[in-house]
């Protein structure tokens, strides 16, 4: 009996151990919580491993309760945003929105996009275009300086362009944005040493020659690919020079801890007005639950995801007053591959398009996060014109068109390819295939593939194996050419539908060189109508962003394209 009870001690020891452990964890966590709240509010601790410059921001010591944190936020003049990890901070290698977000603040170029997405002077204070539209003469500002104080000259621009065109750098954006400049393609393909099209006239004058008159060329120069970098910075820094970039933009990179944060600091020597106002801009890039951080006052701005959209859209919610909905120059399409049966017959394409109720899809499935698309050009894009106020949906006509088509009664198997890796495709695709089944009696099977595989098949329209698929296009620059010619001109790589219409091509080419803006947009509207009537695609949605902004953040911009925006923003107490 005594022996049976003998091991009671074990239970005792274990219970004590577990309690002690849990207790220790709680106490430790509590202590650290207090400590970290102090450092969080004060942010005085220099972080090891970062490239921080100590003693630059005025710290406010002492922990403060959550409720009073917001005003102290403004007093410290720090803006905290959610951000994405940038694949690069090198302007020449920037081809994505995540990188561009930081690059446009740290660097700058000859021209930029202003608040209204119009091309505006930046380092170039003015320019002249020759009569044949092929030569641009830029005059540079004399007060533009790199962050280290060195003045920017025409040589810096030439160096930057030639560096981007250097094949060894392997810039993937060079062709898209600089390919019009005489000599860039030759240098990229190792057929020339220099870029002949860029000529330094004197320290503050530079001449650029392009291969043909192109009304959208200036818009391309606003992209980071054409930005100016500092030769010394690049050459001394080696392959990872962007860890300490010496740019010309309104903000400087103060600290970048991969997977955690990017901190920008205002450049007091910036040459344009308005000068940057917020001292420090902190991007949280490690992920985490941004919405919770925003509600805890740990972030000043947050993007709203689909799971929070209902709560935030409710007018009774206090968050509703902080909500901003902005367009994102982006259109989502259903693409009919015109080279693949049955979509080589325009009647089949029209039938499929008319059988999809876009309004219902957007209202019910997408919860009105995007808006319904009735045109190819998204709202906000220069040249955008509303062609139809209502999204066409006509199941009767759709059925009739299918019966008139050459595939009537013998429609081949149709597969819808979409990106995704889940157990089933997204609700949007499922709803649309259900609509096709209901309205046309057609069974469309769904095939999912991951993004890398998907886009790998799309880069050559003549070899694209997908019959029917959905994809979105985001504007690279604010010009209708970027949608209409890139996506629908015969021979364009991004002509996913393999659409070819000689009349449309003629109009597109004409619009590409037309220098009267009103006339140009008129031509684009004409061609857009022509394309839509042929149904190579069904415009589905215009993407929109939903943002929450704390009331003390003033003049925050949510432009549909990446533009340098931070210098307009200020914080009020």
């Amino acid at each position: 009996m005594a022996e049976k009870n003998d091991n009671r001690w074990l239970i005792g020891v274990v219970v004590i151990l577990v309690v002690a452990l849990v207790g220790a964890v709680c106490v430790g966590a509590g202590a650290l919580l207090v400590l970290s709240q102090q450092t969080n509010t004060a942010q005085t601790s220099p972080v090891p491993g970062g490239v921080s410059t100590p003693g630059s921001s005025a710290p406010k010591p002492g922990a403060q309760p959550a409720a009073t944190r917001a005003p102290s936020q403004a007093a410290r003049n720090v803006l905290r945003l959610p951000g994405d990890e940038p694949p690069t901070l090198d302007p020449a290698l920037t081809g994505d929105a995540s990188s561009a977000e930081y690059v446009v603040e740290i660097f700058s170029g000859l021209v930029m996009l202003d608040k209204n997405l119009k091309v505006a002077p930046d380092i170039a204070e003015s320019w002249k275009v020759s009569d044949d539209g092929k030569t641009y003469m830029f005059t540079l500002r004399k007060d533009a300086r790199f962050h280290d104080g060195r003045p920017v000259t025409a040589q810096d621009f030439k160096y930057s362009i030639e560096r981007t065109a250097n094949p060894a750098l392997a810039s993937h954006t060079a062709e898209t944005y600089l390919g019009d400049i005489v000599g860039v393609k030759e240098k990229l393909n190792r057929k020339a040493q220099a870029v002949d099209g860029v000529k330094v006239i004197d320290d503050y004058t530079v001449e650029i020659k392009i291969d043909a008159p192109k009304a959208y060329f200036l818009a391309k120069l606003t992209f980071p690919t054409a930005y100016i970098v500092d030769k010394n910075n690049v050459e001394r820094g080696g392959r990872t020079w962007t860890d300490k970039p010496n740019g010309t933009g309104p903000y400087k990179l103060k600290e970048y801890v991969r997977g955690q944060r990017i901190i920008l600091e205002k450049n007091d020597g910036f040459y344009l007005d308005p000068k940057p106002q917020i001292t420090t801009v902190e991007y949280i890039i490690g992920g985490g639950s941004f919405m919770t951080m925003y509600e805890n006052n740990d972030l000043d701005i947050v993007g709203v995801g689909i799971s929070d959209i209902e709560r935030v859209s409710d007018p009774a919610s206090p968050l509703n007053k902080e909500l901003f909905i902005g367009p994102r120059l982006s259109t989502g399409f259903v693409v009919f591959n015109t080279r693949k049966p049955p979509f080589d017959d325009p009647k089949v394409r029209a039938a499929f398009a008319l059988a999809i109720d876009r309004q219902k899809l957007v209202d019910v499935v997408y919860r009105k996060i995007p808006s319904v698309a009735t045109t190819i050009l998204p709202p906000g894009m220069p040249g955008y014109k509303e062609l139809d106020s209502k999204a066409a949906y006509d199941p009767v006509k759709a059925k009739q068109l299918l019966a008139e088509s050459k595939y009537a009664g013998k429609l081949p198997e149709v597969t819808w390819t979409t990106t995704g890796g889940g157990g089933s495709a997204g609700p949007g695709i499922q709803t649309m295939t259900a609509m096709l089944k209901e309205n046309l009696g057609v069974t469309v099977s769904i095939q999912q593939t991951d993004w890398a595989t998907f886009i790998g098949q799309l880069n050559d329209p003549t070899k694209n194996p997908y019959q029917l698929f959905d994809i979105g296009w985001i504007a690279d620059y604010a010009d209708p050419e970027n949608f209409l010619a890139i996506l629908f001109r015969t021979g364009s790589t991004q002509n996913w539908a393999a659409y070819s219409n000689p009349d449309a091509d003629k109009l597109l080419d004409q619009a590409g060189i037309e220098r009267d803006t009103a006339k140009r947009f008129e031509l684009y509207n004409q061609v857009e109508k022509m394309i839509l009537a042929d149904y190579p695609v069904l415009p589905l949605t215009f993407e929109r962003d939903h943002w929450l902004t704390k009331p003390y953040v003033k003049d925050m911009l949510y432009p549909p394209l990446i533009i340098p925006r931070l210098r307009y923003v200020s914080l009020t107490k």
Binding site: V14, V18, P87, H172, G287, M293, N296, A452, I471
Partner: protein
């Protein structure tokens, strides 16, 4: 013993050869390529060809493979192609590996200190209320998907909650109890790590509890335990010297192999909490076909498992004399 270890070490390069060549081939011959991901929707055949040439991705398989191995042996694991363009892979890994190892190690330590004793007692007092609750709790711990658990716990612990009693017009705010990482990871001893570590340790607790319990029950039914009791040995000695030691043998396997798993980051946990560890890096690498990061991560995991296996093999004979003889 020494011969055994040497034999194992000779196997290491063989294992690595197969692991690397298979991973490399999967990357190269699988669908998609880092160049295509880099170009996104702006890909065209000419640019793809140009960039593949510049990065040497158009070379034959064996040339690329040998180049990679040659460089890796000199400590150069290549450069990131898409997600951290031109950053040395070695540095990207070195920045993140310690975070993941510390996180996992602490989770493992907590998992063992809680799980092993609980399992021991549950096995000892089989079918008692204690056993029953331990079994139920460990079943729950192992069954709740962490993808569900994470947001729930975060909501409860990392947000302020307002308590309102309309009667007395009483308002009181409690929390947040735990801070969030929010771009500043402060190591595993910070309060920010408490939730992720707790969640990661749940799995260990559940597995170790159940294994230890099963081990104890098994051992207590063995003849030698009956013999020990029959010869009048005190119960404490029976349990500590005979039962516990034997029940710990399978635990050694689990713990040993878990040591190999220390270098594997949990993608879910790391991403959800914003922890800069190897899991989030590996996920980015897989989705964007970052060959060289994938290779480096695979090699590290393979090496870790080979050594963890070696350690288990080494510990077995010490714990269990029966193995020594064979």
């Amino acid at each position: 013993m020494a011969a055994h270890i040497i034999r194992r070490l000779i196997w290491l390069p063989v294992v690595l050869f197969f692991v690397t060549i298979i991973t490399f081939a999967l990357g190269l011959y699988g669908p998609g390529s880092p160049i295509v991901v880099m170009l996104g929707l702006h890909a065209n055949p000419d640019t793809i060809a140009r960039l593949s040439r510049e990065y040497g991705l158009d070379q034959p398989f064996y040339v690329q493979y040998l180049n990679y191995i040659g460089n890796a042996l000199q400590g150069n694991f290549g450069y990131s192609l898409v997600k951290y363009r031109d950053q040395p892979v070695g540095i990207l890994i070195a920045e993140r590996l310690p975070v993941t190892i510390q996180l996992n190690l602490l989770a493992l330590v907590i998992g063992s200190t809680v799980g092993i004793p609980l399992g021991l007692l549950a096995g000892l007092y089989r079918n008692s209320w204690f056993d029953w609750s331990v079994r139920t709790l460990s079943l729950i711990a192992v069954s709740i998907p962490i993808i569900f658990l994470m947001p729930v716990l975060l909501f409860l612990l990392s947000r302020p909650h307002e308590l309102t009693l309309s009667f007395w017009n009483f308002k009181y705010t409690i929390g947040p109890f735990l801070p969030m990482v929010a771009g500043r990871w402060e190591g595993v001893l910070s309060g920010k790590a408490a939730l992720p570590i707790f969640i990661e340790s749940l799995g260990f607790i559940a597995i170790l509890t159940r294994q230890m319990r099963a081990g104890m029950i098994d051992v207590l039914g063995q003849d030698y335990v009956r013999t020990a009791r029959a010869k009048g040995l005190r119960e404490r000695l029976v349990i500590v010297r005979h039962a516990m030691r034997n029940a710990l043998i399978p635990i050694t396997t689990i713990l040993g192999l878990s040591l190999g798993g220390l270098v594997e980051g949990s993608f879910l946990v790391e991403n959800f909490f914003g922890i800069p560890g190897i899991g989030s890096l590996a996920f980015q690498a897989f989705t964007s076909r970052e060959y060289y990061i994938i290779m480096a991560v695979t090699i590290i995991i393979a090496v870790a498992y080979v050594f963890a296996n070696m350690l288990v093999d080494f510990l077995y004979p010490i714990l269990d004399p029966r193995i020594r003889k064979t």
